[in-house]
């Protein structure tokens, strides 16, 4: 999701010159555990956009029915100090229970699901089918001139698959956004 604000690599938006070493931009996955109540998504998203940060992907669903908590997974880009700010600001919201910097954990799993439509025939059709096989994408739907593939994996894998499909008649893509969870016995 590209929000309405500045490009990811834009310099500090403060009109007061800031020359301190901000470090390079890095992409982070932040998981936010929130009370599932009306308006909570808008609070989280509003906070991020109001401070001029860009959201690249966003996923949300209730994950604990008993405690009524949802997990919001946000992918965003920024300098280390900006990321710290986002995390601190999110932590300040009343319905936010925890903020987890998933990308800071070395043992985090990351998955995304994409639906990819290609429209083609002849050689291209065979080639796209073969590549789908390599990527372990499933065919959900087909006509004589099209496929809908379902592919799951880390973002890099999905991006690679989409890139490969471009010359083969890529027509439409739908993605869930990133999900994440920790490996092993420990909970976030």
């Amino acid at each position: 999701m590209t929000a309405q604000n500045a490009t990811p690599n834009a310099p500090s938006q403060s009109v007061y010159p800031v020359t301190r070493d901000e470090g390079a931009d890095r992409e982070v996955i932040v998981a936010v555990i929130v009370d599932n109540e009306p308006g909570v998504l808008s609070r989280v998203v509003g906070l991020i956009s109001a401070r001029g940060y860009n959201i690249e992907s966003l996923t949300v669903a209730e994950t604990d029915m008993e405690k009524h908590t949802s997990r919001i997974t946000v992918v965003t880009t920024g300098t280390p100090s900006k990321i710290e700010q986002i995390k601190a600001q999110l932590g300040r919201l009343v319905p936010v229970r925890r903020v987890i910097d998933v990308s800071a954990e070395t043992d985090a799993l990351e998955r995304e699901l994409a639906l990819v439509k290609v429209v083609n025939d002849g050689e291209h059709r065979v080639e796209s089918m073969r590549l789908a096989d390599v990527f372990r994408a499933r065919v959900l739907d087909t006509t004589h001139t099209s496929f809908v593939f379902e592919i799951t994996g880390a973002r890099d894998k999905i991006n690679a698959f989409i890139d490969l499909m471009k010359p083969l008649g890529l027509s439409e893509v739908s993605r869930t956004g990133v999900l994440s969870i920790r490996r092993g016995v420990e909970k976030d």
Partner: protein, 597 residues
């Protein structure tokens, strides 16, 4: 059925009340004594319930913005949560300025808004607006109450959220049919409380590290802010003790004035854009800065890359997101300012017992500070025939000394002169719109203060432009017999705008002159108040005394010199040690600085 059985039965039988009554019960349990409000269609059931309540006083304002500012004034002067009650639609949108003001200045306020009945929500009904949507980014938290069963618990939680952690405004939107719907009351003890607003334990290691730095500092400074006031009178006391024990100089932001006594020799005066020369130079040249409840606002820091370049910085704040936000610090201690200063003081004393702190370490620093002090940066050229605004504030201060005085201000030049020339020795005596810079804040805020302290002398130091933004509250002051004193420094200009136009825009005074001001004396009389005008310095004292002694609300039209500027000044885009004094050069502001606010 025996009598005792019957008694038992009625005891367990649920007592249900209407939502409006539940709301007032909850407010009562929270200790609310005064509500500032304005009735309307969507809050009529609440007003009906209020009609029969003797315990809660209602002050009818003349505009909802005034209700919020009055609640802020009440909150800031008492340390309690201020409460405002307004109707749906325009009532709520008018309240937005006050909510944003309270958010930026961290003032605990609960605002209750009416909403159209539940079945009408989302239908563009009469006086409907998406109140929770509109106020989401200008409140600390807000609620839409969907059922009267959750109403009382929501009110208790709202007060908890408003006053705990970093305080702020909380809004409760109550649909009209919820106000009629009956339910049981949930007491404060039984209400759910969010787990997120917990003040963390003080990190002992960080206190130790901070004391290490403090003991070996040669050029230390304590930079305090509104957080010390918000942390209660105990925090101000802790600050005084800490300063006394260490001998460190103390400066404060606009918001923090009064936490440390201005009469103390360790006091450097306010810092920042119009702060004192000694305070700003001390901030720039220090080797250890201890920021307490202050947030490194741009009015304070000036140019960030030149901000206090050679210092270690310790930052004490209750809000983790304030740490490292604008200025990276070495030690960020999260928690209540008072509790942390107490812990620091205890540790300081413990170390002092083992090995006495060498006070001589900072002698050189003090002589440097005394050198800056000798510059006498607030001085101004006195005048014989006309009243200088600075002189007016000086006289006001002198003539009200020793009285139980509270001061509010509007926003602009008069606000800065008030901060420079009116001195405070106690916290909670100074109410000004610091973060949002809301013109029109002072008059309604004074109402709120006066409602809390009926016998105190409450003065709104105002400008002729600002005061007209909420002038109608004069009517509320007369109606509720709140004898506030509105001391207008009348220069017939939007003074601060004019000053910036002189400085940044070649003296082209675009639309900053008030062509046709009202006759403030006649205006006061029209409202049923008392009007006074002073035009000459020699009549000023007598007129100020007349104002103080008047039992009515007073509009004091103090006609001052028109072209006076506020000095000293750190121009935009400049550093702390690049202050401007009276002699202003045309090229004092860089091209880049001109684009800054």
């Amino acid at each position: 059925m025996t009598a005792s059985q019957a008694k038992q039965e009625t005891k367990t039988a649920a007592i249900t009340k209407s939502g409006a009554e539940l709301l007032l019960d909850a407010l009562e349990e929270q200790g609310v004594e005064v509500i500032f409000g304005y009735p309307g269609g969507a809050v009529l059931p609440i007003y009906d319930a209020l009609f029969a309540r003797e315990t809660i006083r209602h002050v009818l304002v003349r505009h909802e913005q005034g209700a919020l500012h009055a609640a802020e004034g009440y909150a800031r002067s008492t340390g309690k949560v201020g409460v405002a009650l307004v109707t749906s639609g325009p009532g709520a949108t008018n309240a937005v300025t006050g909510l944003a003001d309270a958010l930026l200045d961290s003032i605990p306020v609960v605002c209750i808004t009416g909403q159209v009945a539940r079945p009408l929500i989302g239908t563009d009904a009469f006086q409907e607006c998406d109140t929770t949507g509109i106020t989401r980014s200008c409140t600390k938290y807000n609620y839409l109450v969907k059922s009267s069963h959750t109403l009382s618990t929501t009110v208790h939680e709202a007060f908890h959220v408003a006053r705990n952690g970093r305080p702020g405004p909380v809004l409760i939107d109550i649909p009209k049919d919820v106000q009629f719907e009956t339910a049981q009351y949930t007491s404060r003890a039984d209400a759910r409380n969010r787990n997120c607003i917990v003040t963390p334990e003080i990190n002992k290691n960080q206190i130790d590290q901070a004391i290490d730095l403090m003991r070996y500092a040669r050029r230390p400074v304590l930079y305090t802010g509104g957080g010390v006031i918000n942390a209660g009178p105990e925090a101000s006391k802790a600050l005084r003790e800490l300063a006394k024990a260490t001998g460190f100089p103390v400066t404060s932001t606009l918001m923090g004035l009064g936490a440390f006594p201005a009469s103390d020799p360790q006091w450097l005066g306010m810092l920042g854009m119009h702060g004192s020369y000694e305070a700003n130079n001390a901030m720039h040249d220090c080797d250890l800065m201890i920021a307490i409840g202050a947030r490194f606002d741009d009015r304070v820091t000036g140019r960030l890359d030149a901000f206090s370049p050679n210092s270690r910085k310790v930052h004490i704040d209750i809000d983790p997101s304030s740490i490292n936000k604008n200025v990276p610090v070495d030690i960020g201690i999260i928690g209540d300012a008072g509790a942390i200063m107490d812990a620091m003081l205890a540790e300081w004393k413990r170390r002092d017992k083992k090995e006495k702190h060498e006070r001589e370490r900072i002698d050189g620093w003090w002589s440097q500070i005394d050198g800056w002090r000798a510059r006498n940066s607030f001085q101004y050229a006195p005048a014989k025939d006309v009243i200088k605004p600075q002189y007016a504030i000086e006289r006001l201060y002198e003539l009200t000394r020793g009285k139980d005085v509270y001061v509010t201000t509007e926003v602009g030049q008069h606000q800065m002169w008030a901060a420079q020339f009116f001195h405070f020795d106690e916290p909670n005596r100074w109410m000004t719109s610091g973060g949002l810079g809301t013109m029109g804040y002072g008059l309604p805020a004074a109402l709120g203060v006066q409602a809390a302290y009926p016998d105190a002398l409450v003065i709104d130091i105002a400008g002729d432009a600002s005061v007209q933004m909420t002038m109608q509250e004069m009517s509320a002051a007369v109606q509720h017999e709140l004898p506030i004193k509105i001391f207008i420094l009348n220069n017939a200009y939007l003074g601060m705008v004019r000053q910036w136009q002189e400085l940044l825009h070649g003296g082209r005074y675009s639309h900053s002159y008030s062509e046709s001001l009202p006759d403030f004396v006649k205006l006061a009389e029209a409202y049923g108040g008392h009007g006074i005008r002073a035009e000459k310095p020699d009549e000023l004292d007598a007129k100020i005394i007349e104002m103080i002694e008047s039992p009515k609300p007073v509009l004091f039209d103090c006609v001052v010199t028109q072209q006076e500027n506020v000095f000293p000044m750190i121009p935009s885009g400049a550093a702390h040690n690049e202050m401007l004094f009276g002699e202003m050069a045309e090229d004092a502001v860089s091209e880049q600085g001109k684009t800054l606010v």
